[in-house]
């Protein structure tokens, strides 16, 4: 059942068969000049609509929901294995006395990440996406329902590990965080321009491995600043904890800003 989006409503296939029946009657009426008739009848129907319209509409609903509850929602994207879950595990442990937090995790097949995050004590909703390589606003809407009505300051949404597909799907988040790691090569942002372009925050993870992999920091940061012009860039290690305090402070500031804005209205 889905009240908001009507996802259980049966739709198009029914009307297709009607169109088909009608089509047959037409061509029978007109006899043999099938091909010519078709050319003459050919007409253009203007639509001018976004194929993302439905997702964007649901994303706006999610945004309104987060706003109403004073929840700061973050959409965390990265290549597989950059360290999204590791960063969230550390964050949930570090901030648990200060904020009410929850996570929503997208994974193609397993429940592993949700289990790791739940072990911190924070509620975690697993979305198994199957063959779908990204989360969309509709999935988030259902996950929010599963989270229930308890107060929530921070909602972390760990997207499916993928730098292409999540780029086009607004989830209604306040902040889009792209995680990249020093082991991935400095030119990731050039290869995946779509996801970096509108990132709010870029976390460069695994800096404990920088030396071992010969990470060219100067070049990497220059590429990042070009590809993610509006993003705050933080370097950190979920393993050693280096740089995590700056990330936590950033989260605190964003929560204050959001709650402050809401209070004034």
């Amino acid at each position: 059942m889905c009240d908001h989006c009507g996802c259980s409503t049966p739709s198009s296939p029914h009307s297709h068969s009607h169109a088909h029946e009608r089509a047959h009657t037409h061509s029978q009426d007109r006899g043999h000049h099938h091909h010519h008739d078709r050319d003459e009848e050919r007409r253009t129907i203007a639509l001018h609509q976004s194929l993302m319209a439905k997702n964007d509409r649901l994303a706006e609903q999610n945004r309104g929901f987060f706003k109403g509850r004073g929840t700061l929602a973050l959409n965390i994207v990265s290549s597989p294995g950059s360290g999204k879950t590791a960063i969230l595990e550390a964050t949930l442990r570090a901030l648990q006395d200060d904020y009410k937090m929850a996570t929503i995790v997208g994974d193609l097949a397993t429940d592993n990440d949700a289990a790791r995050l739940r072990a911190t004590g924070a509620p975690s909703i697993q979305i198994t996406t199957g063959t779908v390589c990204h989360l969309d606003a509709h999935m988030i809407q259902h996950a929010i329902e599963d989270l229930g009505r308890a107060p929530l300051d921070l909602l972390f949404i760990e997207n499916v590990g993928n730098l292409v597909c999540p780029a086009g799907f607004d989830l209604g988040e306040d902040v889009r965080v792209v995680v990249t790691s020093v082991t991935e090569g400095e030119d990731k942002p050039q290869k995946y321009p779509s996801i970096f372009q509108n990132a709010d925050i870029v976390l460069v993870n695994k800096i404990d491995l920088a030396e071992a992999v010969g990470y060219d920091r100067k070049r990497a940061l220059e590429i990042l600043r070009n590809a993610a012009p509006g993003a705050l860039i933080l370097e950190l290690s979920a393993r050693t904890g280096a740089g995590l305090d700056a990330w936590y402070n950033l989260l605190r500031a964003r929560i204050r800003a959001k709650v402050g804005t809401e209070a004034r209205h």
């Binding site: 739709s11 198009s12 009307s15 297709h16 009607h18 169109a19 088909h20 009608r22 089509a23 047959h24 037409h26 061509s27 078709r38 050319d39 009848e41 050919r42 007409r43 253009t44 129907i45 203007a46 639509l47 001018h48 609509q49 976004s50 194929l51 993302m52 439905k54 063959t131 779908v132 390589c133 990204h134 969309d136 292409v164 597909c165 780029a167 086009g168 799907f169 942002p189 050039q190 321009p193 779509s194 996801i195 372009q197 509108n198 590429i223 600043r225 070009n226 590809a227 012009p229 509006g230």
Partner: protein
């Protein structure tokens, strides 16, 4: 492969539109897709062909007009087309956050008979 989901939404809209217009066949589908939309044309075409089998859209041609990325530089009050991977204004070198076009995923029209 999010192209499958996009193709599905595309196909549903096209079929509903054609049915409402009492058309029997969808001949062509005209799209505008931004270069930053993250859509691979071949994958979209493939998905659309697979999904449209045995529907009035079977065999329809997907015509995709690519939309270049354009940014706006506030300092220069000018639009520019950034090179891939950078959003710096060619005149003042300031990075621009404001992408004015390039993320479109638009169904412009369908041609039916």
């Amino acid at each position: 492969m999010h192209e499958f989901g996009i193709a599905e939404s595309l196909l549903n809209t096209a079929l509903e539109t054609a049915a409402r217009a009492e058309a029997s066949k969808i001949e062509q589908v005209n799209l505008r897709i931004g270069l930053l939309a993250g859509v691979v044309e071949e994958a979209l075409t493939f998905a659309f062909e697979a999904l449209s089998e045995d529907t009035p859209a079977q065999g329809a041609r997907l015509v995709i007009e690519p939309i270049p990325v354009t940014c706006y530089c506030e300092t220069c009050a000018a639009f520019f087309e950034p090179p891939r991977g950078s959003y710096r204004c060619p005149t003042c070198q300031a990075p621009s956050r404001s992408v004015k076009s390039g993320r479109e995923l638009q169904l412009i029209s369908i041609e039916v008979s």
